[in-house]
Every structure is written in C-alpha cells, then in structure tokens.
C-alpha cells in the first residue's frame, strides 16, 4: 500500500511540535517516546504499520481545540483515533502526523429518558453507551461486532453498522448531534437533542467522513426502549442460491426481522470447529431474529417459517429458550475469531443488491479457485452487506498481495452488480485506490470540495479515502 512521502519540514520540527503540545496539555497527555508511540502504529488492519510523530490524549473539547490550533499553525497532519479497531486503516498514522486519541474522553454527559437520548464524550466505547442505560431498560441500537472495544468516535467517523441495523439503521440514523472541533480550533455544534437540520444537513456529511472534516468530541445519541423479547431461528439450506432466495422472500413478505445473518459452508465449518455451536453441516445457514412479546414473536415466526419451508430447508431450528438462542448466535459471533485461529485473513465489506447474492457468491467461488485462496462468507444478508473473508498465509511471501488483489476483484464485482466497495467498515487506505471503480472524477471532486471547506489545508487524515493521485494537488498545495 502506497503512502505519501512524509513532509520533511514537519519531520524536521518534531521536537518543537512536541514541546508546544506539552506546553498546552497536562503532564502525561503527550506521548513522544518511540517505545510508547508504537502502541499507535496501526489499527485493526495490522498488515500496515507506521509510528506517528507523537500521540496526544486530550481530556476535553478545549484541549482538542488547543491541540488543533498548534497543529494548524505548524502545518502538522492530524490523524484522529478512537479505539483503533478500524479494519480499513482509517486510523493508520503517517510518520509526519500527530495521533489525536480521544480514549480519555469517555464520560456520559447527559441521560434523558423522556426525550430518548444520551450525550457522551466520543471516546466512550459503543457497548458502554448501552451499559449506561440498560438497567433502566434502554439501549443504543448500532451494534458493531467490535462493540466491546470500538469508540463512538470511530463509529461516527465510519458510520458503523451492526447485526441489528436491518431494523434500527446504522450510526447516521441514530446520531442526533455532535460537538466537533475544526482544524483551526473552531468548535461547532451540529444538531442536538432534536430532529433534523435547520439548514444544510452537515451532521449527515460529518457522519462517515473518516476523521477528515473535524475531530468529534461529543455526541448526542438516540436511545430506544428495549423490546420485550427476541428470538432467533436457524435455517440450513442446500445451496447459497436457495438461502439467498429465502432472504428476498422474507423481506418481500413485509415482516421485518431485526437481523438476517448468512454463513456459507467454509464459515460454518470453521465456526463449528471453534465454538461447537451445533450447526448443521450444510451449504448455507441463515440466522433470522425477530423481536417483541412472546405472541408477537410467534406471529412473525409463523410467516417466516412458512416461507423458509417453501425453500426445502435441511434444518429449521427455533430457539426454545435463552440458552438455545445464545447457542444459535454463538457461532456467528465467533466467526472472525474462528477464522483468525486457523488463518490470517482479510475481511471485505462490499454491499450488493440482495437479489444479486447468488450471482456474487458464485463469482467469489470462481475467484477463489482462480487465486487458489479459500474464502469464507459471513454477512448481514438482509441488507446485502457481505463480508467475504479471504484466507492467506502472512508468512508466505506474496500471499498478502495475492489476497489483496483478489479482494479488489471481489469488490469490483460488487460495484459491477450495482453495489458498493464498503457497507460499514469505511474506505481508509484499504479501498482508497479502488474508489475510481465506483466514482467518476467529478463524483470524487464533489466529495473533495467538501473537505476543502472543512479543512482547506488538508491536514486531517489526508492520505485516506481518496486515491492518492486524485488528492495529490490538494495535499501538495497545502505543503
């Protein structure tokens, strides 16, 4: 993966920048010892590593503003960081950058049940937002699998999704407002504890802008009352095509499950070996979950099971109790861990129209044969968001490159059938150079024009999202 050459002027004044940051921040908030900055050298896309100039860990919006004023004045690039779980290299440093980590900013600032929102500092982890309200019967809906670790900051920057977003939407649909610091230190409030924008929907653009428009320090999040109950069913099918058709029929029927998850045979086998969830050995599995009171669940499941039976399932398993429900989810939830045990893998994230599932799964199978690399598929089928896991051997020279090349072909296929490169993980560095497969130059220009407005000198996370060639003039002009 190509990264821009570090700005030598910035590299040369490293000590000065560190000293200025130390002046404005409390002791311990600036990390410049190379042994310690290594903790920030990568995110969850661990194939790429680069230590930053230094890292700063502010404790308040005011401190973030002070940091950005210094970096802005000195012309130093800034890479915002939440928990570093990005799978796209979104939080990957460059040698000439300051890593601005919001992990110390993790307070709950306001909880308002009557109006159904919480306001938090963005370093707070996703799961602990729900943790703060669940005793009172509420939850924060977006639930990325990384929710134990990932921060609201990264969720907002990546517009993260989760298994239950079929019903509840992704981050942008649950985000009411943010406090954000612009690169020159200006603090802006976008949105708040009320709905929709009074002018242009800037909040909508900031969500998903991958740390390139400003540093988000506080967020107002919509919370919901927990449903009375939930129940998953497990369905096994003899082919991917049949499972895909079943998904489409369920959606068409007008019952909206909260989740429809899909696993193919390689994935089922790996999960079974790892977690022993008791999955049947078949070509394709669906986990369909519905919510409500017992009688509501029964009403929905009657429709769903009737549809499933029309597709000759090899297995239909309704969870009889909480224990069985947990076992149905167990394999799915351990899918990434299971894969990690047997292999190195890269996890793709393309989205396709649900109707193209069989075609794309076939295409992936052909590519797998062509490259001689195994692929396991596990994904959010209800909304077409696929996660093919390409298995490779990091110790084998050239294997990573081969896997990446194959990944690029799979994502190109997703775009060709009417889908997109990334459904929830973001572009980062990983898909940066594929952007021109999906967008014409004018489409990218329009997006970069927005960055020009928020960050005219292109100091915030500049080497991400846009193909380096496309952003080059802008990045260079700034230097």
């Amino acid at each position: 993966m190509e990264m821009p050459t570090p700005n030598q002027t910035v590299m040369a004044k490293r000590d000065k920048v560190v000293a200025r940051l130390q002046e404005i921040l409390p002791k311990g908030a600036v990390i410049s010892d190379p042994a310690e900055t290594r903790a920030y050298e990568c995110d969850a896309l661990t194939a790429y590593k680069c230590p930053p100039l230094c890292a700063v860990l502010p404790a308040s919006t005011e401190e973030v503003a002070a940091i950005l004023r210094v970096c802005h004045a000195e012309g130093v690039p800034v890479v915002p960081r939440g928990s570093g779980t990005s799978l796209a290299g979104g939080a990957l440093p460059t040698e000439d950058c300051v890593i601005l980590g919001v992990a110390r900013m993790n307070a709950v600032l306001e909880t308002d049940y009557a109006n159904r929102f919480v306001r938090v500092q963005t370093g707070r982890t996703n799961l602990s937002v729900t943790g703060a309200v669940e005793e009172d019967g509420f939850f924060y809906a977006p639930d990325p699998s990384s929710q134990l670790a990932c921060a609201i900051a990264g969720n907002i920057a990546m517009n993260s999704g989760g298994a239950h977003c079929l019903k509840y939407g992704v981050t942008t649909n649950n985000l009411l407002g943010v406090t954000m610091v612009l690169i020159d230190g200006t603090v802006v409030e976008l949105g708040g504890a009320y709905l929709d924008a009074g002018g242009l929907d800037l909040l909508g653009v900031v969500c998903g802008s991958e740390g390139q428009l400003g540093v988000v320090t506080e967020a107002t999040l919509r919370i919901l009352r927990k449903p009375e109950g939930a129940k998953p069913v497990l369905m096994g099918f003899a082919s991917n095509e049949v499972a895909g058709a079943c998904v489409s029929d369920i959606i068409k029927a007008g019952v909206l499950p909260v989740a429809i998850e899909f696993m193919d045979r390689p994935c089922i086998r790996a999960c079974e070996a790892f977690a022993g969830a008791g999955y049947p050995d078949c070509e394709a599995l669906l986990i369909v979950e519905v919510e409500g009171a017992a009688e509501e669940i029964a009403e929905q499941l009657a429709v769903i099971l009737e549809i499933a039976r029309r597709h000759d399932p090899v297995e239909l398993r309704e969870a009889a109790d909480a224990d069985e429900a947990a076992r149905i989810w167990l394999g799915r939830k351990s899918a990434f861990g299971a894969m990690g045990q047997i292999n190195d893998y890269i996890c793709l994230d393309g989205t396709i129209p649900v109707s193209k599932l069989p075609q794309v799964l076939r295409g992936i199978g052909e590519l797998s044969a062509k490259y001689g690399l195994q692929v396991a598929n596990v994904f959010h089928a209800g909304d077409g968001n696929m996660h093919p896991l390409i298995l490779f051997d990091a110790n084998l020279a050239g294997d990573l490159e081969k896997a990446e090349e194959m990944g690029a072909e799979i994502l190109t296929l997703c775009v060709e059938v009417g889908g997109c490169l990334t459904g929830e993980h973001g572009v980062g560095i990983e898909k940066r150079d594929l952007m021109s497969k999906q967008f014409a130059p004018a489409d990218l220009e329009a997006q970069m024009a927005v960055k020009d407005v928020f960050d005219p000198a292109w100091l915030l996370n500049p080497a991400k999202v846009f193909p380096l060639a496309a952003s080059e003039t802008r990045r260079m002009a700034a230097q």
Partner: protein, 381 residues
C-alpha cells in the same frame, strides 16, 4: 422557462446559464425566501427506473410525480415509510408533488419519529451542480459508506446545491393493520408527557401527536402499526399502561387521523403565518407556553411526541420571528417560517439563523456547489 428532457440537457443548460434560476418540481412546496429568477422545471425528467420489491429499493427520476411513485409501490404492498407531508393542504398551492421535491425538502411526516426522515431512506442521488457538472453519490444498496455521504447533504438542500435528476430510496412493506389511541382534554404539557410515556414503552409507537387547535379543546393520539395480533397486543398493553382510558380507532379511520397530522390540516383553514419548530420533545410545550406569555401563538399542533411544533401566529410585524427564534435559541432547535405571504418571507430569514462557525461552513459549501450563485439564490438565507 427551461424544462430539460434529460440529465445531459439539464447539465448543458446549467453550464450555459448566466442568470439566477428558480428550481421547481411540482411547485407545491413554496417554502423559503422568494426567489427571483427564470423557472427551471424538473417535470421532463420522469420515470421509475427500477423497483425491486424483494430488495426494498426504488430508483426513480426526480421529476416523477409522487402519485406515480406511490401507486407503483402500492401495487406491491409497499410505501415510502417516512410519510411525506402534502404541502398543498397547508400552503394552498396547486400542482402535483414530485419525488425530487420531497427529497430536496427532506419532507417527512409523523412516522419520522419511529423510522427516520426522508434523508434516512435516501440511498443515492444523481444531480447537476451549479456549474453544470453531473455528480452521483450513494447508490441503490442499503448499506454504503463509500466516500462522503453527500446523499444526506442533498436531502433538505432545497435545490441550492444542485438540481436532483435521480434518487434511490429504501421502501418498506405496508403493515397489515393500524390503530390509534385517542385521548381528549389534556393540556399540552400533559399531552406531551403521555406521548413520551408511550414512546418510551417497548410498543413501537409510529405516531405521537397532540392537537391543541381550538380554544379549550385538544386531542392526543398514539399510533400502532403491524400484524393484527401484534397491534391488538400492543394496544392492550398501552391501555393497561400510559394510555389507560384512551379510545381506540382502527384501520381507515385511524389512517385519516394521521393524514390530518401529516398535512397539518387543522391549521390549514385558519389565517395567519405557520412556523415549523423542531425542539427536544419535552420542550415543545415549554416553548409554546413561553410564547403564549408574550401573546404569540393562536393554535399548535405537536407531532413527533412534542418535538415538532406547528405554530399558528398572527401574520403581522415579524410574524413572531424575534420571539420564536430567541426561545428556540435558548432551548436548542430550529424554526422555519413555512407559511407566510411572500413579502413577509422576503423580509425575514425563513430558516433558522446558524451560529457563526456553522453559517460559514454552510455558505462555503453552497459556494463550492454553486459558485455563481444561480440555484435558488437567497432561498435558504
């Protein structure tokens, strides 16, 4: 007048345009500061390009009449779940609304509180910017974080950033049945408190409104939709809890109640200016009480559990603008003067004035997308 027949025609026309343009879909949503300029109509850009019921997706050209879209969805038991308001009722405008107009104005109705706004259902856009460049963003799939989300930016940009040519929307199945719980005689604070109790229950309320339209009378409404057994269950549960003693209205009769709320029909026949105010739900009655103390506000319709206040005021002087904006600024939120004579709207900022930092971003974005300032100039100022 211009009425391009294709996206390319439109791009050519905008590239060559030298004077301000008034962008119009069906012309039913005459909102914002009056625009002086040549008329540019989108009515030549019509047709449904794709409707895939099993993927819940619809791709349609922007000038397509809303009625055509709704009929196509209805044929498959689907609908636009965000329940767009028909502005003709309140504004007394004619014409036929287009889907592009719905998107450009981010029009959402009572169900917004449960399922999201138009912007939340918008999957992709194609538009021509003020320089005549064709731009696409988003796509036709449910989950997409590829690049910046200009889709959200275009929703509610009122034609000031570009002229929409095509929109992709997520659609949903129409539920089998609906019912509404109704209570009368509550004051606004009690009404909104009851709505809040219903909305914080686990019973998936999809409409929560309080109507205080006539002196001394009021109605509070809570809607439930879904499969028959589930609706019956949740109605019973609500009546055993926060809606004890409320009446039940079902099916078509229930639907009528929500069309009325959606279109702000109870205020339509009354003379005066109408404000649309978005605040924290519990602030709805606080806001109207503070304004009433200053003699402002003749009738109010509270939607979104109290968070959306439609306020009828006498249309003299500044139509209450100074007082309303001061209250909204203190509470947090935004107020738009939706209905008023053109002269009144010309003399006031129709949209909520922004803080300096945000206003600067807003202006700079408009300057990027429409560098010559020819698209609906002034409308959002």
């Amino acid at each position: 007048m211009m009425r391009p027949q294709s996206e390319e025609d439109l791009a050519g026309a905008l590239a060559e345009a030298t004077a301000p343009l008034r962008v119009r879909g069906g012309g039913t949503r005459d909102v914002g500061r009056p625009v002086v300029g040549d008329l540019l109509e989108t009515g030549g850009l019509t047709g449904i390009e794709l409707h895939e019921p099993g993927a819940l997706t619809l791709v349609v050209r922007a000038g397509t009449p809303l009625s055509e879209v709704e009929a196509a969805l209805d044929a498959h038991g689907q609908r636009l779940a965000f329940e767009p308001m028909d502005h003709r009722v309140l504004l007394g405008t004619g014409g036929a609304p287009t889907i592009g107009g719905v998107v450009a104005a981010n029009v959402s109705g009572p169900r917004r509180i449960a399922v999201g706004a138009c912007r939340d259902f918008l999957l992709g856009v194609r538009f021509v910017d003020g320089s005549g460049t064709i731009v696409k963003n988003g796509g036709r799939v449910m989950k997409n974080v590829t690049g910046y989300d200009l889709v959200k930016l275009m929703a509610g940009s009122w034609g000031c950033l570009g002229v929409l040519t095509e929109v992709s929307l997520k659609v949903l199945a129409r539920p089998a049945t609906e019912a509404t719980l109704v209570a009368t005689g509550k004051d606004a604070a009690a009404g909104v408190a009851a709505l809040s109790a219903a909305l914080t229950s686990p019973f998936d309320v999809t409409g929560a409104a309080h109507l205080a339209v006539e002196e001394g009378r009021s109605e509070t409404r809570v809607r439930i939709e879904g499969m028959p057994g589930s609706v019956a269950y949740r109605i019973d549960a609500l009546r055993a809890g926060p809606c004890a003693g409320w009446d039940v209205v079902r099916d078509d009769e229930s639907a009528v109640l929500w069309t009325e709320v959606r279109d702000v029909a109870p205020l339509a026949a009354r003379s005066g200016a109408v404000w649309r105010i978005s605040v924290k739900p519990s602030d709805g009655p606080v806001l109207t009480a503070a304004l009433a103390a200053q003699g402002i506000g003749e009738a109010a319709l509270y939607d979104w559990g109290g968070g959306l206040v439609w306020l009828l005021v006498a249309e003299d002087g500044d139509a209450g603008a100074a007082a309303i904006r001061a209250q909204v600024a203190a509470l947090g939120g935004h107020a738009t003067l939706v209905r008023a004579a053109p002269a009144t709207r010309a003399a006031l900022p129709v949209f909520q004035p922004q803080s300096n930092g945000v206003a600067a971003l807003d202006r700079a974005i408009r300057a990027k997308f429409d560098p010559r300032g020819i698209l609906n100039p002034g409308l959002m100022d």
